[in-house]
């Protein structure tokens, strides 16, 4: 942060803010050795600060990207022009785990597929922002900076009085606006897999802040082609929009995974008929697959006729022989990612492999080139963190949130995650990452 300086009163209140976060149950759940544990999500009070003109640029780029991604999903499940025009090889669309044949010719309410998109970015030392990943299924994380801001303002009002920082506590209003826009008529609900989900805090907090009902699958029922929420007196209330926080495969046991006990039988049928909106739409995984990521700049050009504003991290597809050649020649300088994995898993750095590991990996890469992408290791711009009263530089990413209602809306904040380990590039909360608030300056 350039440099609002060490004089920020807020830094002295880090412990207070963390105590308040604990008080309000700001936690995430993880399974270790098959045992569920709730952990606090540690907060570092030094924010990531983004200047107004820089965020204006990001905002334009994020809107452009999410619009193109929505058009791509719509195209794939209908006309498939982008495949016919050979912009994207069809095997990348159909062989990835995200494509769902059941979604063919299904048009969601208002034609929106990705209502909430979590776009992961990093800033290189050259100041350039790079997109690392698109998350279009059930991206999480907005609630953490939202509540942290509230508690920081309580702890250090002077900081927020003295600096021009856009208030980020409007996320719930943006989300509600998004829900209301696609609502087919009825109540708004947030569907959670339950208390033992890693992001349960977020589900319950967003329900509280949006005024939506937090429900699990057993509380909803499909009858006469509509979705209902049953209350304890036996009364049924129609539901018009479901912000679902469960994966596609568990959403409807009649259509997807038959063994799912957390879904709602026949919900996909009424979604197909347009009688309920699902946020995000099923089948979005076709667009956030790590293999498809490579093609997003091409989508922007193809659908919008514009040059992409935001760049991908330099990425290679071993599927293409010329890229495979490059990857093998520069193996030690690249990071390899398994396209089927998420949450920081399936990520290996060429430089950290032993000779044997490298040989084994290359054998696998040659056998399954579609399974991996390779990326240049971006030299992230470091962000200061506070450790025992001292400021130390660490790697951090940014998850920006784009909500698609009548028009795309970029939340003027985001989740900044970092690793306290100076040698680690993995910032996921499930792997020991911590978080910061993201300040967007208003002038």
């Amino acid at each position: 942060m350039e440099n609002m300086g060490m004089d920020l009163d807020l830094y002295d209140h880090t412990d207070t803010v963390n105590e308040l976060l604990a008080r309000y149950g700001v936690k995430f759940g993880i399974y270790k050795n098959q045992v569920f544990k709730e952990q606090l999500f540690p907060f570092d009070a030094i924010p990531r600060v983004i200047k107004k003109n820089e965020f204006d640029f990001l905002e334009k780029g994020l809107k452009q990207r999410v619009m193109a991604l929505n058009l791509f999903i719509k195209d794939i499940y209908s006309e498939k022009k982008i495949i016919r025009d050979k912009v994207i090889p069809e095997e990348f669309v159909y062989a990835g785990g995200g494509y769902l044949a059941e979604c063919e010719n299904v048009m969601p309410s208002k034609g929106i597929y990705s209502h909430i998109s979590g776009i992961d970015l990093v800033q290189g030392k050259n100041g350039e922002w790079y997109i690392l990943e698109d998350n279009l299924r059930v991206p999480s994380g907005a609630s953490y900076p939202m509540i942290a801001r509230d508690l920081c303002r309580r702890s250090s009002p002077r900081t927020f009085h003295d600096h021009h920082i856009v208030d980020n506590r409007d996320y719930a209003q943006l989300l509600r606006k998004t829900m209301d826009f696609v609502n087919t008529g009825g109540h708004s609900v947030i569907l959670t897999p339950g208390r033992f989900n890693a992001a349960y805090f977020e589900h319950s907090y967003l329900a509280e802040k949006t005024g939506a009902h937090l429900v699990n699958g057993s509380e909803l029922i499909v009858e006469n082609d509509h979705l209902y929420y049953m209350d304890y007196t036996g009364k049924k209330e129609k539901v018009g929009v479901v912000y679902r926080r469960i994966s596609d495969e568990y959403l409807d046991p009649m259509t997807f995974n038959h063994e799912s006990v957390i879904g709602i039988p026949h919900i996909f049928d009424i979604f197909r008929k347009g009688n309920v909106a699902l946020m995000n739409a099923p089948g979005n995984g076709v667009a956030d697959d790590k293999g498809i990521y490579y093609f997003v700049p091409k989508m922007v050009k193809y659908y919008l006729g514009e040059e992409p504003i935001l760049q991908n991290a330099p990425t290679y597809l071993p599927y293409y022989p010329e890229d495979m050649k490059y990857v093998l020649e520069h193996f030690d300088t690249l990071v390899m990612k398994d396209v089927a994995e998420a949450g920081g898993y399936g990520v290996v750095f060429g430089s950290s492999m032993t000779k044997k590991e490298k040989e084994d990996f290359i054998t696998l890469l040659k056998a399954e080139p579609r399974r991996f992408i390779a990326q240049e290791v971006i030299d992230f711009m470091d962000i200061d963190i506070m450790e025992k009263g001292e400021m130390l530089p660490r790697k951090a990413d940014l998850r920006a949130f784009v909500l698609m209602g009548e028009e795309p809306m970029v939340w003027h904040s985001g989740l900044t995650r970092f690793s306290r380990n100076p040698d680690s590039f993995i910032v996921n909360s499930s792997q020991g990452g911590e978080f910061k608030d993201t300040w967007v300056l208003s002038q």
Partner: protein, 220 residues
């Protein structure tokens, strides 16, 4: 008025019951703890009998450790508090983060008591947090049904405990009258005849404590 599902009703009811169980048992436990300091070290046996819980403890030290902090012991204070927490944590959007936070604070206070030289001081904070929880629940939960269901859980648990502890007739009568007025306001299905019987039992000149405990468990 919002919609409350069957599952949420159940959780609200048990949140009321477990929060009351922790509150009343800590108060009774505190007076026994005082006795155990320098008077009758073995009085935990009498406590178990009074509370109608199995005396599985081998010594007063074992009792103080397990009864207060052992999550594997279903009758322990921490187990009951964690059951209250388990119900509260899934009701955030019904009761609000502020209300929920007092149950979370009570959990932290009881965990601090575990490592404290003076556990009763921290347990007093657990009581303060539960009182604050009830206060803010009453003050800030806008849905009347939600408030009423929590209160019914609380009253039923209190009458049950008062019955086991052979509490004074006047105290019992007050609690039963409060319950009789509250239950119909929840819109929950309940045993009307059972509630009338409970009222008669509480108004009798000689209290049939066993009958009251059985009857109060048959209302909801």
């Amino acid at each position: 008025m919002g919609i409350i599902s069957v599952e949420q009703t159940d959780r609200l009811y048990w949140l009321g019951r477990y929060s009351e169980r922790v509150y009343t048992t800590i108060r009774i436990f505190s007076s026994h703890y005082d006795t155990m300091i320098d008077e009758i070290e073995e009085s935990y046996g009498e406590y178990c009998t009074k509370m109608d819980i199995p005396n599985i403890y081998t010594s007063s030290e074992d009792f103080l450790k397990k009864y207060c902090y052992d999550e594997e012991d279903p009758n322990s204070l921490i187990s009951n508090l964690m059951r209250a927490y388990d119900n509260a944590i899934v009701l955030r959007e019904e009761i609000g983060s502020e209300t929920l936070s007092y149950i979370q604070l009570a959990v932290y206070a009881l965990n601090r008591a575990k490592v404290s030289e003076a556990p009763l001081i921290e347990m007093q904070k657990v009581l303060d947090d539960i009182l604050a929880f009830w206060g803010i629940a009453d003050d800030s939960i806008s849905d009347e049904n939600v408030r009423n269901i929590i209160k019914v859980g609380k009253r039923i648990e209190r009458i049950d405990l008062f019955g086991r502890l052979h509490i004074d007739r006047e105290d019992m009568l007050r609690e039963v009258h409060r319950l009789v007025g509250r239950v119909p306001r929840t819109q929950m299905k309940y045993n009307k005849l059972g509630l009338e019987r409970l009222n008669l039992l509480a108004e009798a000149p000689q209290l049939d404590y066993y009958g009251i405990v059985c009857q109060v468990e048959d209302i909801i």
